[in-house]
């Protein structure tokens, strides 16, 4: 590779700052065409750290110190590596190489086009069909006598950033579509995002109208009229402009703007006030900065407030909630737009879908949703997530915010989501890493022109394969909180800082105890026990010659609040006693009562006799649980109370120990 100046440097010190590592490890640094690889010298661990070049967002070179020259690698997944290289010359070479490698200029330099997972051509082609959007439209009941597919945008003739397959009101003729698209920024005419079968109301999306101060367009007005008519239950629609009203007004001076309620009959205009991508970019930068400083509580809370990040998250969630309420409670269709209709619009529509439809709260459902509202509807992934070296003003954490909204919701509704935090973070990583072709490019047409389906792989089947790792053990589709429309509380105090994304401390060794991991392990063990139970029952039946007694294991559910209200009456009041509801029949935990169609166990040669110590056979609980035996080493996490006095790896950038200040 021509950009590799030096492939290998020895005696390098590496410090993974974001994971709270306090002592640098010494090892060898390798640069490959795709990765920076660090291998520890320590013969016992030989720990390897791999950083994909495309995940590097910046490479800084702080002033040289006596021990050598430093590099600071900041990654798009918020990891920060500090590297100390003995020779300045080597450091310069690594720096130059990394700067170049982390900023590919052409798509062809990207990892996804050289990444070759172990699958054949057929499997690769299959992988692209894993998510079938038409099947999802069908699931929501589209097409029907209100909404139909239109061929207007085939070959991307009308709008080059839209998908070729779109749904519009039945009455919308190609002429109306084309007319409307001429009156909308970048031709992004109103099209269906989500159809709500229960109320027949729909969520539609588009870009801002090119109205200026007085412009109007008959076809566009007709188009909105048809959106309204496509919902027999209502005589108006909401037009949700997700921008602050001031921004929308300012756009009028540039010949753009928002719908004039005098020209469009039967619309109700609603401004939400989500800020633009530039505000969001600097907001996230502020929150990362305040994280890295590891400041006092006051500084931290001030930094959090000052960044405005949670305020923005709340605005997006409020937008989604407004749309969901309109559709589900009022039965009114909503047309959503911002300026170009590919950032804030994507956020608001997809949050609304998550709130409206439990399907999108499943692992597969979230993939479908991202594929529809983000990938297909032309969210500019390559620009926003800097896949190529380009205009830094185009970069903005738009999908980060959507994913964070999903996380905030999962905190309020712990049983409503099939996936866990790890899944959301994995998607985040893949959006930035361009390891797979799924998120490459800025719209469907670009992806088609790049022939990505032939040259790269889709990420979704990979994530699906690992779904066991991404499953939320508390997910219960039957619970009322999981069904129907989610109604989150958006009072400010319900929002939390998403530590899992920005702070890698908890993911590093030693892992903190995680209830989710614990419960996943318990559930896994239960599954094995269920199998074992079946085996034993069959074997006992065979030995005794009696028919199998299929016993159900039932555990009554305790209806109890985890924070009970204590009663202070003089008598033992009735509320002291637990109301034990009848054993849940429908919780999916009960053993299958179907007779197993297995061969008679007496013929099973593998069956061993479990005796003695086996009776306490504790099944495999993942490693990270057993590491509880080494929690003590977590002392390093005591960031403001360090015991690093004895450590030899003195690092100037680390917080000093309290002892010294005493």
């Amino acid at each position: 590779m021509e950009h590799l100046r030096t492939p290998k440097v020895e005696n390098v010190r590496l410090l993974d700052r974001s994971s709270g590592q306090r002592k640098a490890s010494i090892g060898t640094l390798y640069l490959s065409a795709t990765h920076t690889i660090f291998v520890e010298n320590n013969p016992e661990s030989r720990k390897e750290t791999w950083v994909l070049h495309s995940m590097v967002s910046s490479v800084e070179r702080p002033p040289t110190i006596p021990a050598g020259s430093q590099l600071i690698l900041r990654c798009k997944d918020f990891r920060v590596f500090q590297i100390l290289i003995p020779q300045e010359r080597d450091c310069l070479d690594v720096h130059t190489s990394l700067v170049r490698l982390s900023r590919p200029e052409k798509y062809s330099e990207l990892y996804c086009l050289s990444f070759n997972p172990n699958v054949n051509k057929m499997e690769r082609e299959e992988s692209w069909n894993f998510i079938d959007l038409m099947a999802d439209y069908k699931r929501m009941g589209v097409p029907n006598n209100l909404w139909v597919a239109t061929a207007a945008n085939s070959e991307y003739r009308v709008c080059d950033t839209y998908p070729s397959e779109l749904f519009v009101p039945k009455m919308a003729t190609p002429a109306i579509i084309v007319g409307s698209s001429r009156f909308r920024s970048r031709g992004r005419f109103p099209a269906l995002s989500y159809f709500h079968q229960d109320t027949l109301a729909a969520v539609c999306r588009c870009s801002q109208p090119l109205s200026g101060f007085s412009g109007r367009c008959q076809e566009d007005e007709m188009m909105l009229q048809m959106l309204m008519k496509a919902n027999p239950g209502s005589d108006y629609i909401y037009v949700v402009d997700t921008r602050p009203k001031l921004n929308a007004m300012a756009n009028r001076a540039a010949g753009k703007g928002y719908e004039n309620e005098d020209h469009y009959t039967n619309i109700k205009l609603q401004f939400i006030g989500i800020e633009n991508i530039h505000v969001m970019r600097s907001s996230q930068q502020k929150i990362i900065d305040s994280e890295m400083r590891s400041p006092s509580m006051t500084d931290f809370l001030y930094g959090l407030e000052n960044s405005g990040w949670l305020k923005h998250i709340k605005a997006i969630l409020d937008a989604g909630l407004f749309i969901a309420r309109a559709v589900a409670d009022e039965g009114v269709s909503v047309l959503v737009h911002c300026s170009d209709g590919w950032d804030r619009t994507a956020q608001a529509c997809s949050v609304a879908s998550i709130l409206l439809d439990p399907y999108y709260r499943t692992i597969k459902g979230l993939m479908v949703l991202i594929e529809r509202d983000w990938v297909c509807f032309g969210h500019k992934f390559s620009h926003r997530y800097a896949h190529l070296d380009g205009d830094p003003k185009e970069v903005s954490p738009v999908i980060d915010q959507f994913l964070e909204c999903v996380w905030q919701l999962s905190e309020q509704f712990p049983c409503a989501f099939e996936f866990n935090e790890r899944f959301i973070i994995s998607i985040h990583t893949h959006v930035y890493s361009s390891q797979y072709g799924t998120f490459l490019g800025n719209c469907q047409k670009e992806r088609r022109d790049m022939r990505l389906r032939e040259r790269s792989h889709s990420v979704w089947p990979q994530l699906w394969k690992d779904r066991a790792e991404y499953t939320n053990p508390l997910y219960q589709a039957e619970l009322s909180q999981s069904q129907g429309v989610l109604r989150p509380n958006t009072t400010p105090y319900c929002f939390k800082m998403w530590k899992g994304l920005y702070n890698h401390t908890e993911k590093s060794t030693p892992p903190r105890q995680s209830p989710a991991n614990f419960l996943s392990a318990v559930r896994e063990e239960s599954q094995q026990l269920e199998e074992e139970l079946t085996n034993h029952q069959e074997r006992i039946a065979a030995l005794t010659g009696k028919p199998i007694m299929w016993e159900k294991i039932e555990v009554p559910r305790r209806r109890t609040s985890h924070l009970r209200q204590t009663h202070r009456g003089p008598d033992p009041p009735t509320t002291y006693t637990d109301t034990i509801t009848s054993p849940a029949q429908d919780n999916g935990h009960t053993l299958s009562s179907e007779p197993a169609n297995r061969k008679t166990p007496t013929q099973d040669p593998d069956l061993t006799l479990p005796l003695g110590p086996h009776t306490q056979l504790k099944s495999p609980i993942p490693d990270d649980l057993s590491t509880r035996s080494d929690l003590e080493s977590g002392v390093a996490d005591l960031s403001s109370c360090s015991s690093s006095r004895g450590d030899d790896g003195k690092d100037p950038d680390l917080g000093e120990a309290v002892f010294i200040t005493a």
């Binding site: 026990l529 003089p570 009041p573 929690l631 977590g634 109370c641 015991s643």
Partner: protein
């Protein structure tokens, strides 16, 4: 009966009760000597029983002839009672006011409460100092139990029995006590079995401006050091505050007189500042109209999280000195009854797995708070809604519980108890039918004959059905030291207390239930599989022929 004079209107019909996130209830309001009761007199609907002592303050509002009383409770709940009739409303309000501010301890509900449950073990006798000392004796013979304070004359806030170094006699203790604030001479708080290091606590030394010294005090604390070893003195105040204390007769240990000790100053705030902080925090949590900016800025301005961080950091430091540096520690602030106890008790949570069990935690609260003379009566007289000027009130104990919750949240599998237990202890510290948290010291409790006349909270807790409810389903005994992270982003607002009444808990309750169920089902399966295994083994030995295929 004196109560009758205070109750101007004992009963009003047609009263409507409003509670956030719960259906309104219409019914009859009754006032008794200790309770405010609202009953709809229908089956299935919940009755409200509110202890007058749980009421922090009330507000009256009138719209026409309909009066409303807004009742703000010490457990931070706010409820509204709509009372038809101006006169009734005024009568009820003034009765509540009078009944909730009774001064005399002997009129408190615990003296009238008769338990209807079977007391299996009398909580008043469960955690006696002599029993705790027996545990200590099994580990070391370097300490003795002194009776020097048996009539509470040496230190009124200490229990009659305290553990002190074996070779320090009672005369030395008496003299050392005159040199310490409130007579609180250094006593043993914790013995670290792993390396024999100890944590002691005391009041500040009374050096004054002219640098008084006390040979007995020096002898006493030096007696706890191994030969050639140095110890750490953790002063919970900043050096400036400690300097200023000299002018009022207090002070700190000088290097010259305590050469074997290294002094570290931390910055845990004083009682009145903590109380202000609590009031601000709760006010911020209760205002739903905030924008995000305003909420975060009020949260920050309350400084509550800063206090949590500071206390936890200091406790970690003490634990670190003992476990990592292998040094003994003496902790004190000014009086030695607030910040000192926060630090010594939290350090034990970190160091000693026994304190993370339900019973061990009760013992910790008994030893390090109740017997150690934390003035609960004064500190918990009012909570966050108090209108009156704070006198001695302070949420020292609530902050301790908050810190425990932070550690529990970071190590959710290492505690035998669940969050509910901490909330329960918080509630009972402020208002209770049990006598446990009445009075300011062991001496006061003895004078009131609390152990004879009231029921202990622990008697109620330590019954199988309660224990089961308070048990953390995720618990797996962890015998190690647990080091919590004290980075600001690792410390969260304790929602279980501060947002408890401000949002619906339904979804979180369901999640908790689900968690309990997953684990209970697993246990049941294990039992079943084990019994089948045994059955199988038996069958197969009975009939060896069957083993050959």
């Amino acid at each position: 009966m004196e109560f009758a004079e205070l109750i101007k209107t004992p009963r009003v019909d047609g009263v409507v009760l409003h509670r956030p996130f719960m259906p309104t209830v219409e019914g009859t309001l009754c006032l008794t000597g200790h309770h405010l009761i609202l009953s709809s007199r229908q089956d299935n609907t919940e009755e409200l029983w509110l202890l007058h002592s749980n009421i922090d303050s009330i507000e009256k509002r009138f719209v026409g002839s309909l009066g409303s009383i807004i009742v703000k409770c010490k457990d931070l709940r706010v409820i509204q009672l709509d009372i038809p009739g101006m006169e009734e409303c005024l009568n009820i309000a003034s009765s509540i006011e009078a009944l909730s501010t009774l001064d005399s301890l002997s009129l408190m509900y615990p003296f009238f409460y008769r338990p209807m449950f079977e007391v299996i073990e009398d909580g008043w006798n469960s955690f006696l100092p002599e029993d705790a000392f027996k545990d200590l004796e099994s580990m070391t013979d370097e300490w003795r139990l002194s009776e020097v304070n048996k009539d509470f004359s040496v230190c009124p806030s200490y229990p009659p029995l305290v553990a002190v170094p074996k070779y320090v006699d009672d005369d030395t203790l008496r003299k050392a006590a005159t040199f310490r604030h409130g007579g609180r001479f250094p006593v043993l708080s914790y013995y670290h079995k792993k390396n024999g290091m100890v944590m002691m606590r005391a009041g500040q030394p009374l050096t004054g401006t002219n640098g008084r010294r006390c040979k007995e005090d020096e002898k006493l604390i030096n007696a706890t050091l191994r030969p050639g070893k140095r110890g750490y003195i953790i002063d919970t105040r900043t050096i400036n505050v400690a300097q200023q204390a000299k002018a009022r007769g207090g002070g700190f240990e000088s290097e010259a007189n305590y050469p074997q000790w290294r002094r570290i100053h931390k910055a845990i705030e004083r009682a009145n500042i903590l109380q202000e902080s609590l009031i601000k925090l709760v006010e911020a949590c209760n205002d739903q109209s905030h924008s995000m900016d305003r909420w975060l800025s009020k949260l920050e301005a309350s400084n509550w999280q800063t206090h949590v961080k500071e206390i936890l950091t200091t406790a970690c430091l003490a634990a670190q000195c003992i476990d990592r540096e292998g040094a003994s520690v003496l902790v004190h602030g000014t009086e030695g009854t607030d910040s000192t106890l926060q630090v010594t008790s939290l350090a034990q949570i970190i160091l000693d797995p026994a304190c993370r069990t339900i019973r061990g935690f009760q013992g910790l609260v008994e030893r390090e708070w109740l017997q150690a003379g934390h003035p609960f009566q004064q500190r918990c007289a009012q909570s966050a809604y108090s209108n009156s000027k704070p006198r001695q009130e302070a949420p020292s104990f609530l902050l301790f519980l908050d810190c425990v919750w932070q550690i529990l949240r970071q190590f959710p599998c290492s505690f035998e108890f669940s969050e509910g237990f901490l909330v329960l202890v918080f509630e009972h510290a402020y208002a209770s039918q049990f006598g446990t948290f009445l009075g300011n010291s062991t001496a006061e409790r003895a004078k009131l004959s609390l152990p004879e006349k009231t029921v202990s909270l622990w008697s109620w807790v330590n019954r199988p059905q309660e224990l089961e409810r308070l048990t953390n389903p995720l618990y797996e005994a962890n015998s190690l030291v647990i080091w919590p992270s004290v980075a600001p982003q690792s410390l969260l607002l304790w929602e279980g207390v501060f947002l408890r009444w401000n949002r619906s808990s339904k979804c979180l309750d369901e999640a908790y239930e689900e968690m309990v169920h997953i684990i209970a089902y697993n246990k049941e399966l294990q039992n079943k599989v084990n019994s089948l295994r045994r059955q199988l083994a038996q069958l197969e030995t009975e009939d060896p022929l069957l083993q050959t295929p």
